[in-house]
Each structure stands twice: as C-alpha cells, then as structure tokens.
C-alpha cells in the first residue's frame, strides 16, 4: 500500500520531468530549423538582388556606352559593350524570368542595331570636351553604383551575423533553463517522495499506537470495573443487613469509580480550570515517580477555550509522563504563559536528555499532532546529559 503510492508518485513526478525535457528539446530543434530556413531564404534573396543589380547596371552603362559609340565609334567601346551584353544576358538567363529575359534580348538588339548604324555612318568626330565629359560621368556613375551594391551586400551580411549571434545566445539560455528545470524538478520529486513516505510512516505508526493505547485503556477500565467495582457491589448483595459493612463497601466503590473517572478525564479541567488540573497532574506524577514538580501559572493564564485547554493539558500530561518514565529527572518546572494572542506551555526537566532529531517517540508525535491541529508549534530542546525543555505554543 505504502510502496505502491510511493512508486506511483515517483513515476508521475518523474514522467512530468521527462515530458518537460522532451518538450524543451523539441522546441530547440524547431527553433534551429526555422533559423536555417530563414538563413536560406535571405541568401536566395540576396543572390537574386545581385543578379538584378547586374542586369540593371549593365543596361544603364551600356546605354551610355552606346550613346558614346554612336558619337565616336571606337573599338574599345565596342568591346566593352560586348562584355556587358554577355554579362547581362547570362544574368537574365540565370534569373529565369521570361519577361525580363525577353526585354534584355530586345535591348541588345537595339544596341547592336545602333552600333552597326554608327559604324556605317562613320560620323565626324565629336568635340573632345564633350567626349571627355561623358566618359567622366560614366566612370563616376559606375563607381558609385558598384560601391552602393557592395555596401548593401556587406550590411546585409553583417545583419545576418548579428541575428545569428542573438539566436545563439537565446538557444544557450533556453537550453540552460531546461536543464535547470529538469534538475530542480527531479530534486523536488525526490524530496517530496521521501517526505511523503516518512509522513505516511509516522501517521501509520501513530494511528497504530493510538489504537493500541485505546485498546489497553479499555481493557484496564473493563478490568477495574469488573474486578474492583463489580466485586464490591456483589459484596453488598451478600450482607445487605450489615449497615457498617455496606457503607464501608459503598465508600470504597465510590473511591474506585472516582479514580477511574479521573484517569479518563480529570474533572478539575471542567470544574476548576486548566491551572488546577496542571497542579493536580504535577502532584500525581510527583507522588508516583518521586519527582519535585513545580507549577508556575497565573490562574487567568488557564482561561482558554475548551480545545486549547484540553490540548495544553494533554501535552503537559504526556511531557510529565516522559519526565517520569525516561528522563531520570529530579526536578521538573512547568510554566504556563499567556500573552495577547497566544498561550505557551513550558516543561523543563533536569534529566538525562536525548536527541530529538533522532529518537522521536510516538508520544512526541502525538503531542505534535495535537498542537498542529490548533495551528500551534511544538519545540523540543534537548541534548544528552543536559535535560529537556519542551515548549508548546498555541494561538488563541
């Protein structure tokens, strides 16, 4: 039963942690793929932009060249026109758009036509100044165009690198977070499972102890009722006419019944209040165990609601019992202290002490349970050879 719950709990918590890990890893993979796709896309776009630039530039420059060739036909210009034609035609073929390609072909037909025309006409030479101007402007335009294009490409590449670094950092952080979650989750699962198992053990031991104690108590009461009170009352039946004997027996029977009732629940607790009941318990334990028990409590400190009164009394009773049974104490000091919103009981002995963390008996567990039920705290301060101090604090 107990191990079943533990296994179930371990598996469910473990499964949860595993699930978180799997989900994290999947998220990482998706992230990575998206990033790769994006990179690819950007590269393609850049590539196409470059091809377009080639065509656009080629067309523009060849226009200028053609114009100049028209004015002064020289072989140098013609050669360069041919180079541009080859380049732009190739770029248009690579780009693959049929419209664009058709336009480029049409353009070169026109240029070729103009070039033929100018060779045939063999026009008179233009004036040198004009020629120089056109040449200059063309060079400038070409340079600027080339610079712009490469700057654009560099900028784009730099942006790409930045994005890549950002992605890298995010990935590291995410990975770290997942690792942390997994580790913490596993730790929490282990701690919870252990604590639960211990609590379960304690609870079971406590309830077994309670059942045993209850049974013992019942047996004792039954025995006393039968052996003691029953025998005496039977005795009454034997000699009903002997008045002295009858009153003697009745007196003893009353005594037995009172003793029994006190053992079950001290009537002082109801008749006289908590402080009187504590004093009575102190005297009882003191007489039985030969202890010096001192009670320090103002009568008003014991004016508490029923539940708190019983709790304090039972804790004190158990503590005094422990002092008598295990502590080998000679002096015990019991103090009840009432502040505005809480009441505290302190039981201090000069006995042999113990290690509360190691050997916590079921009596102590029972006290803790009582105190915890009323929202209070139980503290035990003890070391071997240095006595024991027990403090129970309850809110009122």
């Amino acid at each position: 039963m107990e191990s079943k719950i533990r296994v179930l709990l371990s598996w469910s918590l473990g499964g949860l942690v595993l699930l978180a890990a799997v989900a994290g890893i999947a998220a990482l993979a998706i992230f990575e793929r998206v990033r790769a796709g994006e990179h690819q896309l950007r590269a393609t776009v850049l590539d196409r932009t470059r091809q377009l630039e080639r065509i656009r530039g080629g067309v523009y420059v060849s226009g200028l060249l053609a114009e100049s060739y028209f004015n002064a036909a020289d072989t140098d210009t013609l050669e360069r026109l041919h180079a541009f034609k080859q380049d732009t035609m190739q770029a248009a073929a690579e780009y693959g758009d049929p419209n664009l390609r058709g336009e480029v072909i049409a353009w070169w037909r026109l240029i070729d036509f103009m070039a033929d025309l100018s060779t045939a006409r063999n026009k008179r030479g233009l004036d040198a100044y004009f020629h120089g101007q056109i040449d200059e402007r063309r060079k400038t335009v070409l340079r600027i165009s080339a610079e712009t294009t490469s700057a654009l490409a560099r900028e784009s590449e730099r942006g790409e690198a930045d994005i890549g670094a950002l992605y890298g950092r995010s990935r590291t952080m995410l990975g770290g977070a997942i690792v942390l979650v997994v580790v913490l989750g596993a730790a929490a699962a282990i701690v919870t499972a252990r604590r639960l198992a211990r609590l379960e053990n304690d609870a079971r031991a406590l309830s077994a102890q309670l059942l045993r104690a209850q049974e013992q108590e019942r047996r004792a009461i039954a025995r006393e009722l039968h052996d003691d009170v029953g025998q005496m009352l039977s005795g009454l039946l034997l000699e009903p006419s002997n008045v002295r004997r009858v009153s003697e027996i009745a007196e003893r029977a009353i005594d037995s019944v009172r003793r029994l009732a006190l053992a079950l629940r001290p009537s002082m607790l109801d008749d006289l209040g908590l402080v009187a009941a504590l004093e009575w318990q102190a005297r009882e334990v003191g007489n039985r165990a030969g202890l010096e028990v001192e009670v320090e409590a103002a009568e008003s400190a014991g004016e508490l609601p029923e539940a708190q009164r019983i709790c304090i009394f039972r804790v004190a009773q158990e503590a005094l019992r422990n002092c008598a049974r295990h502590a080998r104490a000679t002096h015990v000091h019991v103090a009840l202290d009432r502040a505005a919103a809480r009441v505290s009981l302190r039981v201090e002995d000069d006995g042999k002490g113990f290690q509360p963390a190691r050997s916590k008996g079921l009596g102590l567990l029972g006290m803790e349970e009582r105190v915890a039920q009323l929202g209070g705290r139980l503290r035990i301060d003890s070391h071997p050879g240095r006595g024991t101090t027990l403090i129970a604090e309850l809110p009122v």
Binding site: S247, A250, E251, I254, D255, R258, S267, M268, D270, D271, L272, A276, A277, E279, W280, R283, G286, N287, G290, L291, E292
Partner: protein, 219 residues
C-alpha cells in the same frame, strides 16, 4: 412557631436525588430548615438574593455555573453566609479553590451525614470545618512534599506566640477576639498575623486555612 430560631440552609446540587436525600437528613434536625433548593450555581445565587439563608451547601460539579463560582458570588453579596462545599473530590486543588472562593466548610459526599450536620453548625458559628478524610489526605500530601523537596518545615520558624495566634485565627476568631483571649492589643495581633503569613510564605486567609488543615490544626 420557633422558625425564627432555626438555621436556614440552602442546598445546591444538580442531582435531584442528592437534594432530596440531603433535605431528608437535614430536616431530621429540629434546628435546621431547608430554606431553598437549587439545581445549579446561578439558581443558588438568585435564590440567596430572594430569601437569604445562613448556610449554603454547594456542589462543585454543576452545569454552567459551578459551585466555586457560586460561592464567590454569594459571599460577595452576602458576606456573612457560611458556605460549605460538598464534593466528591478530596484533592488539594479543589480544597484550595473552594477556600479561595471563601468557603469555610469542605465536606466529602462520601462522608457520614453527621459530618455535614457538624459542618453546618460550625460554619454557622463562624468556624471552619473539613471532612477528616480531607484533612488527613492534605496532611499526608504536605508531609510527602516536605520530605521530597528536602526543605525545612516553615512551621518551625514560628514563635510560640505566633503559633497561638495562628491556631486562634484558623479556628475562626476575629483579631479582636484573639486580642481578648491572649491579653494583647488588636494592633499586636495584626502584626503577628502579618509575620505569620510572611514566614510561611502564604498570601491570604484562604492559604492560611489550607495550611492549617495540612498541619492538622483543624478538625
């Protein structure tokens, strides 16, 4: 009628059978008259207000308003009442609290009826009365405590004169009566009383009477 010369007694107990038993016992005595019965402390206090009795016999364990509270209230309103606590408990806690509430008599329910009659006459005369069994148990307890704690008996600290004063105090005599008895001034008696309380580490009249019972000076 000789009713005016009878002692008027109140009986408070939550068990009707106990009340009728007590009434039977008391009314056999010609000088006693059961003036009223009450089933709890509140009824007892109200009944005393209506028709005061000289002696009130109170059970402790009554529902709601118990006998000790009732004793305190009755004595606050009618200080001259002789209160007897009738209880089944011989424990010191009960006796001490009954005394603190102002009761002068403490009788066990199990004791013979003659004890109760004697107690009624004692408290009516201003003296104290304790069931012999109670006195015996308290004495034993006292001896045990002294033996256990190893402390010396504070009674040894008292002078001969102080012991005489103590004896007369616990027998219910006033300072004036004690002064007359011992040929002392009232002032001297008061001083003796103060010293006695100090030496015995006691705090008031109730503690003093309990002390006397423990020492066997009463009953």
């Amino acid at each position: 009628m000789s009713g005016s010369r009878q002692l008027r007694v109140l009986i408070a107990d939550d068990h009707p059978i106990v009340r009728s038993g007590l009434r039977l016992v008391l009314e056999r005595e010609h000088d006693l008259l059961v003036a009223a019965e009450a089933a709890d402390g509140r009824e007892a206090v109200e009944s005393m207000d209506r028709e005061p009795a000289e002696v009130a016999i109170l059970d402790i364990g009554m529902p709601g308003f118990n006998g000790i509270e009732a004793a305190a209230q009755i004595l606050r309103r009618h200080p001259s009442t002789g209160v007897i606590v009738l209880s089944m408990h011989s424990d010191e806690s009960y006796v001490l609290r009954a005394l603190r509430a102002g009761a002068r008599g403490y009788v066990l329910k199990e004791s013979a009826e003659s004890e109760l009659i004697a107690a009624i006459r004692s408290v009516a005369a201003g003296r104290s009365y304790f069931s012999p069994k109670v006195a015996r148990l308290l004495q034993q307890e006292h001896v045990r405590q002294i033996r256990r704690s190893g402390a010396s008996d504070t009674y040894d600290l008292l002078t001969e004169r102080e012991r005489q004063v103590l004896q007369l105090v616990v027998e219910g005599n006033s300072n004036k009566e004690i002064a007359a008895e011992l040929f002392l001034s009232v002032y001297t008696v008061e001083t003796h009383r103060k010293n006695i309380l100090q030496k015995l580490k006691l705090h008031g009249a109730a503690d003093l009477i309990l002390y006397a019972v423990r020492k066997g000076m009463l009953a």
